[in-house]
Symmetry: C2
Subunit: 245 residues, 2 copies
Amino acid sequence: MYLSDRPVADMQPLACSHPCAGCPVRDLAVCNALNPDELAAFRRSGTDKLLAPGEALCWEGDAAGHVFTVTSGVLRMSKLLHDGRRQVTGFAFPGDFLGVTLEDEHPFTVEAVAESRLCRFPRVRFDAFVEAHPHMERRLYAVAATELSAARDQLVLLGRKTAVERLASFILQMARRTRQHPGDPLRATLPMSRMDIADYLGLRIETVSRELSALKRARLVRMTSIHDLIVHDPAGLEALAAVDR
Amino acid sequence: MYLSDRPVADMQPLACSHPCAGCPVRDLAVCNALNPDELAAFRRSGTDKLLAPGEALCWEGDAAGHVFTVTSGVLRMSKLLHDGRRQVTGFAFPGDFLGVTLEDEHPFTVEAVAESRLCRFPRVRFDAFVEAHPHMERRLYAVAATELSAARDQLVLLGRKTAVERLASFILQMARRTRQHPGDPLRATLPMSRMDIADYLGLRIETVSRELSALKRARLVRMTSIHDLIVHDPAGLEALAAVDR
DNA sequence: CGTACCATTGAACCGTTTCAACCGGGGTGG
DNA sequence: CCACCCCGGTTGAAACGGTTCAATGGTACG
């Protein structure tokens, strides 16, 4: 689910006193399906939630009493096998919605990668709200369909791509979510640890490190810091990423 | 998406002349969100589609002009990498809906594993119908959420499970979709080829064959034919499948 | 300035793949 | 009618990509 994939918002101006007036992701979030009055009513049922780095929002299997909208930061979603093997199923960025499930349990653990802020809604209130606003339902379906498409791409990555291909794909994916400055070379921010990347790509941390070094050695990318890099050769990286068809 | 996971239908009796009266999957399909009159109106916009084994319904990247409901048979969904590596993203069984996407291109190739029958609807008619029937929208969301949950389980399988674990998980998954006879031992039908299984599990055909032989040798399963097996030790297989948490 | 933690690098190992041979059932044609 | 072939599946042996184990490096923080 990339920023560029999201439908452009049909935003209407909000009065300054409106509780969502200052929301940094108002034009991205599920909420943008609502008009100002609906939004105000909805917002009243939500509360702010701040998470420190590493802090958990919820655990896989917990009662899913709330849904969330990310307003700032980065989070990771993950599932565990009984013996501790972990699969990171995705990362959530500002504007992303957490709560697409029919189950009454959280389908995965959600933890903050960096300090994060969320808008939290009781699920019962949220469901009632969706019930009352059909265009909200449509928006929710759109979120689910977009996530599904991303999940299927990840299936191809995990099932059929080699280590370099996985890493190249990941860097390009992160670049798409990183704010670019016109005229500047392509940049990617990887706010998560190597461990998180490894568990997302179905690799070990050592392999991520090694293949990243290989990309550096091949002058395809250059690290500017541990969490930031420049893509010197986007076309070359794209070729390595082994995109489909 | 398992049979047992699907919400139980709120079925209303249909007149014998109703076009959906004989539909074998009426209680499973997205259509079950509709009342008889709505259903009749909807059905009029759909046509039957019969596929021979191996025949393609659509190709990844094709214009997505239609949506489908499977009424009989089995199909496989798959995505290709440029060099021919294939990932099977799922199998579709009677009652399953094909068409959860926002893109105007088919997100994957769909081919018949065995002779299959589908109910085919022009996407524009379908969308208009959904627009006019909010409970249909909800049903569609439910389908997407269920598929998403299955896809995330498959991410764990592909990212973190070993070959035996993948095969054990797959057999149990197929057993859940196979009609069981009370009192009889657990059975699983694998209607697809070893190649399809391999491409679904992110393995090679030889590995599938070898690990299946290992399960036979360990007396966990017994093949009754190339496409059918008995699970002698469901608990043992479950343990091998390395389910989460 | 020391320590702790994450990341990187190196070397040996191992699970899955690759390559190759073989098996067996179903269909075809001599 | 049966020999042959074709094709999907199985089995074996060697190769390889990624993991595992171990040591080193680097940086943030007390």
